[in-house]
Amino acid sequence: MTAQTGTKIKVKTLNKASVIIRATLLTLTIITIYSFITFDYKGLNLLDSVIKTAKMLPTMLFEPHFKHFTFLEALYKVLVTMGLAFLTTLFGAVIALFMGLFAARNLTNNTTSNVIRGFVAVIRAVPTVLWVLIFAVGAGLGSVAAVVGMSFHSIGYLVKAYSESFEEMDNGVIEALKASGANWWQIVFQAVIPSTITFLLSWTFLRFEINFAVAVAMGAAAGAGGIGFDMFMASMFYSDLREIGVITYFILAFAIMLEVFASRLKRRLKLNA
């Protein structure tokens, strides 16, 4: 009995996972501190700028005004941005559906799957704005370069999401159909797509939500048109804070609307599934 009083019960065991968690957190902290020390601030007075921002935000948010466009024109521009996002999502979804089928391990062989996965990983690694700018050299700045360029990243994202949905489905169904002599396309259209359609739709809508934000950004950085371009002009050329306020409200309203709609859709799909 007395021998036990001195021994402590070891509560935490130091396994590989907890070592790596600590190492990751420590590394991130060190890199963050190192970053702040080595940044080239170019003589920026941080406190002044923060105070300036704090004074600026109320002007932007509480005194918005229309100067270079009317309410209806702004609404139209937001809808143009939505249109860009929609076309991108549609093209991306159609192409990604086929690539996703060939990337799912339970529907093809390992080699095809690995080749597509590797290819898609590289496509995803290139930032969207660079895709758009690269395409703009051939097609000129505008909606064609924007939609084609934005589609690349959508395809990369959706191939990953779709193929993972396909892989999660019940393998018994595929085997039963194979045994009954169904060919590959019959298996895909009669079993694989119908049983995963709810997941496919919810991933696609999630991507649409992301694409709206991307389309705003491309309007600003790559001349894709829509409300993003107006925001770019208001900031870079007119330096009109109040107009930026108006545009921010428009973007916020549409983005939040999409988010609410997406979470409702997700809930309904979950109920149906």
């Binding site: 590989k16 790596i20 968690i21 990751t24 957190l25 991130l28 902290t29 890199i31 963050t32 970053s35 080595t38 940044f39 080239d40 601030y41 170019k42 941080l46 700028s49 300036k52 921002t53 809808l79 249109g83 860009l84 929609f86 076309l87 549609l90 990983a121 590289v122 690694a125 290139v126 930032p127 704005v129 660079l130 700018l133 690269i134 395409f135 050299v137 051939g138 097609a139 505008g142 909606s143 064609v144 370069a145 939609v147 084609v148 934000a213 705003v216 950004a217 600003a220 950085a221 829509g226 925001m231 770019f232 870079m236 330096s239 930026i244 545009i247 921010t248 973007i251 983005a255 988010e259």
Partner: protein
């Protein structure tokens, strides 16, 4: 009855397809999208890419400068994500159903996160240009706000998913609020949170490129400089550098994820 169900399903599919086609047509008209040009632009771009868009010997002389810019961008992304994560953790604890003080505070912190999340990073950059000018901190704060908003939502979902049962059990034993948060909620959700943070760092490097074009800093500025001066060989080298950096970080993230999840 069975026939009815199938007929209705078919009908639903037709309506869905019809709406889809209609919306597509409206979108094509509104965005002035040239469908034919959309198809022909792809082979043209591929042809152009193979004949112009590859690094040549001369472009490698710019490599030290590109690596410097890339380093700055990677550091900004990591620093913004870490700081965003710290704030997101606090807001997530206030906003999550299992750990919030009361519904009002929870609603407020969720609302703040929603606003920050839905203003895009590019929009933040354009706003902050007014007060910070063309400076590395403009991009830093833009990424910081975006990461904060996104991670708050992710962390709230993680906390509610992971720690419902254990919080109730600890509360029944009479543990205090801070005990519950620091002994149960944070330890049990930290692997999932780290996974989100690593994902955010990858995303932020891509976003930082875009922000860099707008604010004239980092790797985005380098690309824009060579792109606008039509020095496509060097611009392509910038793209290669970004791709390698992102794939490398993805590789490390996957390793960490496999080990902790």
């Amino acid at each position: 009855m069975r026939g009815d169900i199938f007929a209705r399903k078919k009908m639903n599919a037709f309506v869905f397809l019809g709406v889809l086609i209609l919306v597509t047509l409206v979108a094509i008209v509104m965005t002035e999208y040239n469908v034919a040009k959309g198809f022909t632009s792809i082979p043209k771009a591929v042809h152009w890419g193979f004949s112009n868009f590859y690094p040549n010997g001369e472009s490698f002389r710019k490599l030290p400068d590109i690596m410097m810019k890339l380093k700055e961008t990677v550091l900004v992304s990591i620093a913004a994500t870490s700081a965003g994560a710290v704030f997101a953790l606090v807001f997530a604890i206030f906003g999550a159903h299992t750990t919030r003080f009361n519904a009002v505070l929870g609603g407020i912190s969720r609302g703040i996160a929603t606003v920050f999340r839905n203003i895009d990073v590019a929009a933040w950059a354009l706003i902050l240009l007014f007060s910070f000018g063309q400076n590395v901190m403009t991009g830093y704060f833009a990424l910081f706000f975006g990461s904060f908003g996104y991670l708050t939502r992710a962390f709230i979902e993680t906390i509610d998913e992971v720690s419902g049962g254990s919080v109730e059990a600890l509360r029944a034993t009479g543990a205090g609020y801070f005990h519950i948060v620091f002994q149960s909620v944070i330890p049990s959700s930290i692997p999932q949170m780290i996974s989100w943070i690593l994902f955010m760092i990858e995303t932020n490097i891509r976003q930082a490129t875009l922000v860099g074009i707008l604010t004239g800093t980092g790797i985005g500025f380098a690309f824009n400089l060579y792109y606008k001066s039509m020095n496509y060989h060097t611009a392509s080298l910038v793209v290669v550098a970004i791709v390698i950096a992102i794939l490398f970080i993805e590789y490390i993230s996957n390793y960490v994820r496999r080990a902790i999840l």
